[in-house]
Symmetry: C2
Subunit: 208 residues, 2 copies
DNA sequence: ACAACTTGCAACATCAGTGATGCAAGTCCG
DNA sequence: CGGACTTGCATCACTGATGTTGCAAGTTGT
């Protein structure tokens, strides 16, 4: 006896790459190629087709489906993959222990390193995946902690609103990651931090 | 003789609201309701269905299709509608003639007034519609002209990169429009201009 | 070498979304 | 009032995307 197609569709799930035991070398390469192609393709068009992703990966569409049961599973895997790198990048900057300005610069540079090249995956912060959401939440708190430390140290003005400043900071990183024309990560990080701290105005404008 | 359905699908187009002569009062109301519902619905989920939009407008899906031949036509009409308001808002601030700081503040406030409530429509800057694209291009140039004027007047530092500053400015407006918790447009404009000009740092940080 | 695994291909099922249409009932406006 | 317009409803046509399956051919690891 066979179950109705529709029922099987909603029920059957293959294991996502995270959930199985080691893949054979060729399969491993394929998975990586698919994830990278998905990033490239989806960052250009978030509504891109499985077909387009498969093509970009140089692979048949059926193969994509063999590795990622559903489109959702693929995007989820992408988000998890990028999120781990993201958290690692933040952590490596010692945002809770280094002097505020140093931590701010280092964090910015590290995050830009990940964000350039994994922009789509990183935009999945509000993922359905609780792990992804948790990590993004943690990073957000780390960021605000750093900003509070910076404020106490006199790096940030005493009257700044921390959540607003964090949003501005995220937006600057986002813009810098889009912008990158010829510039390297360090130059971009300098630009972001400089803009965040000093803004674009003169210290004491004398006219309107 | 009847043409094949598929052919008609790609060919037949009803006039968009902009392209016809006056509608009867009830039809006019329906069109407005649909546009407003589209904005509300699409700003929450850009992939929302015609069905969802119709429901939000309190109208049958067929009615939406009667007024806007295709989904594309609806989004286009939305973009045109918002773009006109956008251009008018910028223009009303006299960005080319008022003193730079005044113009900057006034433009910000006016644009926020439109952007809050028409966020989705305004995000369609890279619309297929040449009119929309042209207006957004014009506004962009007006903005950069204003910034150059501000730089010459000593409001912006002499070393700022105008395109980067404009991008930052846009991003700040975007964040402020999302952010609006209880704040009115003037408070938001103050926040944006203040952040753009002064940043979040202290004038002379004495530590790292 | 050989068993296990992986891939491409072709074919298929299903579904959701889009768009069209005819008709009956309601609304507008001269 | 009465003709013209508009809407909801039910129904249909079509398309594109997603996901499945079986099989033959190629690859991997031991």
């Amino acid at each position: 006896m066979t179950l109705p197609y529709a029922f099987r569709m909603k029920t059957q799930r293959r294991s996502t790459p995270a959930g199985g035991r080691p893949l054979r070398a060729d399969a491993e390469r394929t998975v990586t190629a698919i994830l990278e192609a998905a990033e490239r393709t989806l960052s250009r068009d978030p509504a891109a087709t499985m077909e387009q992703i498969a093509e970009a990966a140089g692979v048949a569409r059926t193969t994509v489906h063999r590795r990622f049961a559903t489109r959702e599973a693929l995007i989820d895997a992408l988000a998890v993959w990028a999120t781990q790198r993201f958290a690692a990048a933040v952590d490596a900057a010692h945002p809770d222990t280094a002097p505020p300005l140093v931590a701010l610069y280092q964090t910015t540079a590290n995050v830009l390193g990940v964000k350039v090249g994994w922009g789509f995956a990183m935009s999945q912060a509000s993922s359905a995946n609780p792990e992804v959401a948790r990590v993004h939440g943690d990073v957000r708190e780390t960021c605000e902690r750093l900003f509070r430390r910076a404020r106490e140290a006199g790096v940030l003005r005493a009257d700044v609103d921390i959540p607003w400043t964090r949003r501005v900071y995220y937006a600057l990183i986002h813009e810098a990651a889009q912008n990158r024309d010829e510039k390297d990560t360090d130059a971009l990080a300098t630009l972001v931090v400089d803009t965040l701290l000093r803004g674009a105005g003169t210290p004491h404008p004398d006219r309107l």
